[in-house]
Structure formats: structure tokens, C-alpha cells
């Protein structure tokens, strides 16, 4: 870990301004991913702006009947919020399926969206990784890729996004609110927030450098049965091999997004129309164009079967 200076932020706009003023600065909130990466010198900020004091830790109802979740609301608090449990069960479930109790107490809503891949080659600084070191290559391609992406991949990167929460946010059509150094705010739909790797896998999201996430908003509840089904090798405290976030209505329609398959939460709205026909029909559309490796080809089957389990459970 390189030396860094440290300051506590006072307001969101001031934080963004401070960030612009200091080259090599980064925001730190929970720190559960950033410090992990700093210890390995995968992240090497020269300055940390602790946004903890900003107080963005409230969950408020919006005039539209939805919820506005402060960026610093912890994963535990979000999962435990009575309104989220009642109206956005898929989100509670996704959060509770992630990480551990200790990590959820520290990890924040904004930080969860911005966590980086768990690709083991990204984590080993001796290995080629275009995400960590642009242009160095991708050791994961042709390497140990069982956990890695099967769709939306490029010749430069087959990393997945590790978040469970983001998959639920995607299925709920959440929006990410940001502020920049000029004090301008933006709302970015979850659908657009995370990128595919293409030829710039080092850029995970569309968030411009220096901009700060202030909140995530959820539209008004859509009812239905909320399910988050996470498949992993051990029963807990592991990243998803495949996960499915779904909100299913009585008439068989609904929404579905997949985790563990791609560089971003994977939702294909066109495929949702096939939900009444069952998992196979949805998967055929949602996973068309999958380019798995020989080690992770099973994920395509697993995604379909997991969705089938979700539909089966929802129907009771």
C-alpha cells in the first residue's frame, strides 16, 4: 500500500471538488473493496477522501412513491429496512446473499456498485490483466476461467461484476444519482451504469472520474413475487457462480436479471416477454450470443436451470 494523505469530506460537492483538486485522489466509504485492492497495490491512490462524514445514510421515500437510498447506507441497513423488505424483497435478498455480516455492516450502497471484479488474474499483479494494466493482455483467457463471464465478453477481458445487489437494482430499474465537482447532479439508469469490457476493460462504469455517487433511487414498487437465487459452491460467503434476480407476477410475466455471467448485471428485456413460456425460452433469448470458455460453459445451462428453479418456486 502506497502512502496517501487523508481527509474527511464535508459536503458531496466539496468532496467532488476536493477530488478534482488532488491528482490520484479517491473516495473511500466502507473501504471493504478499496483497501483490499490497495494492500495489493492494484489501487494506489495518493489521497483518500473519506466520504463517511457526509451522512448520505438515509433511506427516504420519493414523491413518486419510490425510495431514495443514500450512497452511504450500509448493505446491512438497506437489507434490513422495513420498506425494502416489504416492497423490494429482491433487493433485500440479494444483499443478504452477498459477502458476510461483517462486510455488509461496512459495505455501502455506492461502494457496492463500484466494487471491482474478483477475477483471480486481476488480483494477481504478476499476471497480465487489461483491467488492471491496460494493454498488458488477459491471462484469464485460456487460463482458469470457471468463475468468469460467458456473455458480453471481449477479446480483452472476460471478467464478471461480482455484486449481488447490483443485479437486484438492475431488475428494479434503479437509477444512480451522482454529483460532480461543479455541483451538477445526474441520474444514470442502472441499465447504463456498468459497461461491457469491449476494448477498455479498465473502465467498469460510465461514472466520470471525480463524480460521486450520492444516492440510488428505486421507482415505486411493482408488486409481484421477489426472488434472488444465488448459486455458489459453498453455502455462504462466496461469490455467485450464477445468480438470478426476478420479480414475477401472477400472470407469469415479470422481470429477470442474471449475475455471475457478465461484466455487468445481465438483463435482456426482450427475453422477459418469454417468461410465461418458461426458463428455456427466456434463456434462449437472454443468453443468445454467449461465448463461454470450456471451463465455464456450464454457466449457460446453470443460468437456465436456476431461472427454472426461481419460476418453479414463485409458482409454489
Amino acid at each position: 500500500m502506497r502512502p496517501f494523505s487523508y481527509e474527511r469530506a464535508t459536503t458531496p460537492a466539496a468532496a467532488a471538488l476536493a477530488a478534482r483538486a488532488r491528482p490520484g485522489a479517491k473516495f473511500i466509504a466502507g473501504g471493504t473493496n478499496l483497501l483490499d485492492l490497495m494492500k495489493l497495490q492494484i489501487e494506489t491512490p495518493a489521497h483518500l477522501i473519506d466520504v463517511g462524514p457526509l451522512g448520505l445514510d438515509r433511506i427516504e421515500e420519493t414523491p413518486e412513491g419510490g425510495l431514495r437510498i443514500g450512497a452511504l447506507v450500509s448493505n446491512s441497513d438497506l437489507a434490513g429496512d422495513a420498506r425494502v423488505r416489504r416492497d423490494y424483497g429482491v433487493l433485500s435478498r440479494a444483499l443478504l446473499a452477498g459477502a458476510s455480516g461483517q462486510l455488509r455492516n461496512k459495505a455501502t450502497t455506492g461502494g457496492n456498485l463500484l466494487q471491482r471484479t474478483r477475477c483471480p488474474y486481476f488480483y494477481d499483479t504478476a499476471q497480465a490483466c487489461n483491467k488492471r494494466e491496460p494493454g498488458s493482455g488477459c491471462a484469464a483467457i485460456g487460463g482458469f476461467s470457471r468463475q468468469l463471464a460467458v456473455i458480453g465478453v471481449s477479446d480483452h477481458c472476460i471478467a464478471t461484476h461480482p455484486s449481488d445487489m447490483a443485479v437486484a437494482m438492475r431488475v428494479l430499474d434503479a437509477q444512480v444519482e451522482t454529483v460532480n465537482a461543479a455541483g451538477e447532479t445526474r441520474a444514470i439508469p442502472m441499465a447504463e451504469f456498468h459497461r461491457l469490457p469491449e476494448d477498455r476493460p479498465h473502465i467498469d462504469t460510465v461514472l466520470p472520474p471525480g463524480d460521486l455517487i450520492t444516492a440510488v433511487t428505486l421507482p415505486r414498487p411493482i408488486g409481484g413475487t421477489h426472488v434472488y437465487r444465488k448459486v455458489r459452491d459453498r453455502a455462504s460467503y462466496a461469490f455467485a457462480v450464477v445468480s438470478v434476480a426476478a420479480v414475477l407476477q401472477r400472470d407469469g410475466t415479470g422481470r429477470v436479471a442474471f449475475g455471475g455471467l457478465a461484466h455487468k448485471p445481465w438483463r435482456v428485456e426482450a427475453a422477459e416477454a418469454a417468461l410465461p413460456q418458461g426458463a428455456k425460452a427466456v434463456a434462449a433469448i437472454a443468453l443468445a450470443g454467449a461465448r463461454p470458455t470450456h471451463e465455464n460453459a456450464f454457466k449457460v445451462t446453470l443460468a437456465e436451470r436456476t431461472l427454472a428453479a426461481v419460476i418453479s418456486d414463485a409458482r409454489g
Binding site: M1, R2, P3, S5, Y6, R8, A19, R20, P23, G24, K26, G31, T32, N33, L35, D36, K39, Q41, I42, E43, T44, P45, A46, D50, A79, R85, R86, G89, S92, R93, L96, A97, S100, G101, Q102, L103, N105, K106, L114, Q115, R116, A126, Q127, A128, K131, R132, G137, C138, A139, I141, D155, H202, I203, D204, T205, P209, G210, A235, S236, Y237
Partner: protein
């Protein structure tokens, strides 16, 4: 594809400024700071096990290393230093966290309870006593983290917070074996004392109920 890559590289002097995630502030082309920048020292004050402590620390010092290396509170263990084992679990402002993934300077004014603050050999916390009775440990290295977590888990259940295995998100959870096992899963015990830990927790939970 990428094929055989020549990985003979000059050490690990790598370019680190290229990433854009985690609200990266630096543009991708930002200069990597000179690596031998002098460390920054900062003062931090917190309450550890009921006592006010002020330390002057390198900003890089984790809460875990502040406890272990600066306060001789070595009951909190370093198993992985990356949030993957739970041995470093402490209770901060009433919530259990991994002290390895938190900077000490981020805890100005915090109240920290470590295993030493829960009880002593002559005055054991009920959870410590239950671990001894049920042999909920072997090598002992994960044990302080397990105990801190176990104490916090029973609190979380009492507060009515759901878990991954709760059948309903809206009903109050109960301290069942399945609930406790799920909630304790962030504390790895390679000696495999899980079955006994669950029994120790059940005894404490039952005594409280």
C-alpha cells in the same frame, strides 16, 4: 487469443492509476504518485474496550493493525488481511466488522469492543464460557473473531434483522441452528469447530430467551 504471454516483468513496479472504478477521481492518464512518498501521520482518538485511546498513526494503518501492533491487543487476529476469513472481527459502535478492511483513521470517535473487552480468563463473557464448555474452538486462532461475531449475531437476531436463510423477510427471525450458521459464515474455522460453535451459541441464545 492472448497466447503465451511473456511475463518477465520488472518487478512489480506497476502502473496503478489506470483504474476508473470505486469513484476513481484521477483521470486514467493521471501520473502515478512517486512511490516513495513519505507516509502521512495522523492522530486518531477512539474508545477501545471502554478506555479512551489516542494514537498517532501512518494513515495506512488498519484498525486491525492499530489494535495489534500499537495497542498490544493481539486477541484480534489477522488471518487473511483481506476480508476473507473473519478472524479480525471486532464490534464497532455496536456492529461487527472486519477490522482488517478499515483504516484506523476512519474510526475517529468510535467505540470499539474487542475480544479483550468482552471478558477475561477470570471473568468470562457468557459466550466465552459457552465456547469453552462446548469446545467451540481448537487451534484458537479464529476464536476471538468467532466469539465477537457470535455475540453480534445474537444481537442482530434480537433486533429482528433477516438473513439469507430467513423464510420470510418480514417475520421476526428466530435463533435457529440454520439462522446462526448462515450468519456466522463470515468466520471461517479451518479446524472445523462449527458444529460445536452452533451449540455454544444455542446455549447462550436459549439462556437469553
Amino acid at each position: 487469443m492472448a497466447g503465451e504471454l511473456e511475463l518477465s516483468r520488472r518487478g512489480v513496479l506497476m502502473v496503478g492509476g489506470a483504474s476508473a472504478a470505486l469513484a476513481t477521481v484521477s483521470p486514467a492518464e493521471a501520473q502515478t504518485p512517486p512511490p516513495d512518498t513519505a507516509p502521512t501521520q495522523m492522530a486518531v482518538s477512539f474508545e477501545i474496550n471502554g478506555a479512551d485511546r489516542t494514537l498517532e498513526l501512518d494513515t495506512r494503518t488498519t484498525l486491525l493493525d492499530a489494535l495489534r501492533e500499537h495497542l498490544n491487543l493481539t486477541g484480534t487476529k489477522k488471518g487473511c488481511d483481506h476480508g476473507q476469513c473473519g478472524a479480525c472481527t471486532v464490534i464497532v459502535d455496536g456492529q461487527r466488522i472486519n477490522s482488517c478492511l478499515s483504516l484506523a483513521v476512519m474510526h475517529e470517535g468510535a467505540k470499539v469492543t474487542t475480544i479483550e473487552g468482552l471478558g477475561t480468563p477470570d471473568d468470562l463473557h457468557p459466550m466465552q464460557a459457552a465456547f469453552i464448555k462446548h469446545d467451540g474452538y481448537q487451534c484458537g486462532y479464529c476464536t476471538p473473531g468467532q466469539i465477537c461475531s457470535a455475540v453480534a449475531v445474537l444481537d442482530e437476531i434480537r433486533q429482528g434483522l433477516p438473513s439469507h436463510v430467513s423464510a420470510s423477510l418480514t417475520d421476526r427471525p428466530r435463533a435457529t441452528n440454520e439462522e446462526m450458521r448462515e450468519r456466522m459464515s463470515g468466520n471461517i474455522c479451518r479446524c472445523g469447530a462449527y458444529s460445536n460453535i452452533a451449540e455454544a451459541m444455542a446455549e447462550v441464545a436459549g439462556a437469553r430467551a
